[in-house]
């Protein structure tokens, strides 16, 4: 009787450990930035939306700059401080290396078209270049 009781306790502890670690896993993937991760039907469409949003953010940025520049009379002093701060933070900024690499590569899947054997390679290249570049690029 005692042995069975012991075994059940062990089992309960074991199961609870599994559950706790599983919930930890889920929590570590979630930083409450996005409400839900949805499935994507067409990656290209989503990227186009991102491009459009990037453009509209730039319009807002122009508005902000205009507003600040209109408000401040001592533009020289402002520029001097901007220059000073830029010198300090410059080395810690994310670099656009993936962006530069992207524009150096050309005709990524052209070679693959000539040989069916390269088809798998093409998908591989596609997945990696597209995703890794963008991932690094946007998450920086």
């Amino acid at each position: 009787m005692l042995i069975i009781f012991n075994k059940t306790i062990f089992l309960i502890i074991f199961i609870s450990i599994i559950f706790v670690s599983a919930s930890d896993d889920q929590q570590s993937k979630n930083d409450e930035m996005c409400r839900a991760i949805r499935n994507v039907l067409c990656v290209k469409d989503v990227l186009m939306v991102i491009a459009t949003v990037a453009k509209s953010i730039n319009r807002t940025i122009n508005e902000i700059e205009k507003k600040i520049r209109n408000k401040i009379i001592e533009i020289d002093t402002l520029n001097r401080y901007i220059y000073f701060e830029m010198g300090l933070i410059h080395s810690h900024l994310p670099t656009p290396q993936y962006h530069v690499q992207f524009f150096q590569l050309n005709n990524i899947d052209k070679v693959c078209f000539f040989n069916d054997l390269f088809y798998l390679n093409k998908i591989f290249v596609f997945r990696n270049i597209w995703v890794i570049y963008f991932w690094k690029h946007i998450m920086q």
């Binding site: 933070i89 050309n106 997945r127």
Partner: protein, 106 residues
């Protein structure tokens, strides 16, 4: 992008005695970055089952902590302009990469 998301967060959390008129726009940019760019991008990464870094694992712009002697009220403006400048460059990069995808893969 998360880098700039965090930097704007810092900017909005700066202790200024008055509400800055630009804060409204910065909030708009931040919510766009979050909902329209970072989250959409995570959706795409999810399709390819790639992991992404969490927002608190990403660094932010480390501005100097010293006060400007002759113009203490400038701090906010200087930070704002630096963030907007850098962010503009990145937005242009994202835009140009996405627009050029077609030419690279066909």
């Amino acid at each position: 992008m998360s880098f700039y998301y965090n930097s704007i967060e810092d900017l909005l959390n700066m202790n200024v005695p008055y509400e800055l008129p630009t804060n409204f726009w910065f909030k708009e940019i931040q919510s766009n970055l979050r909902n329209e760019i970072i989250c959409r991008y995570r959706n795409i990464l999810n399709v390819y089952s790639y992991e992404w870094p969490l927002i608190n694992q990403i660094n932010r712009i480390q501005f100097s902590t010293r006060k400007y002697r002759d113009a203490p009220s400038f701090v906010d403006e200087v930070h704002s302009i630096i963030i907007t400048r850098l962010l503009r460059e990145w937005m242009q990069r994202i835009h140009s990469v996405i627009i050029n995808l077609e030419t690279k893969f066909h």
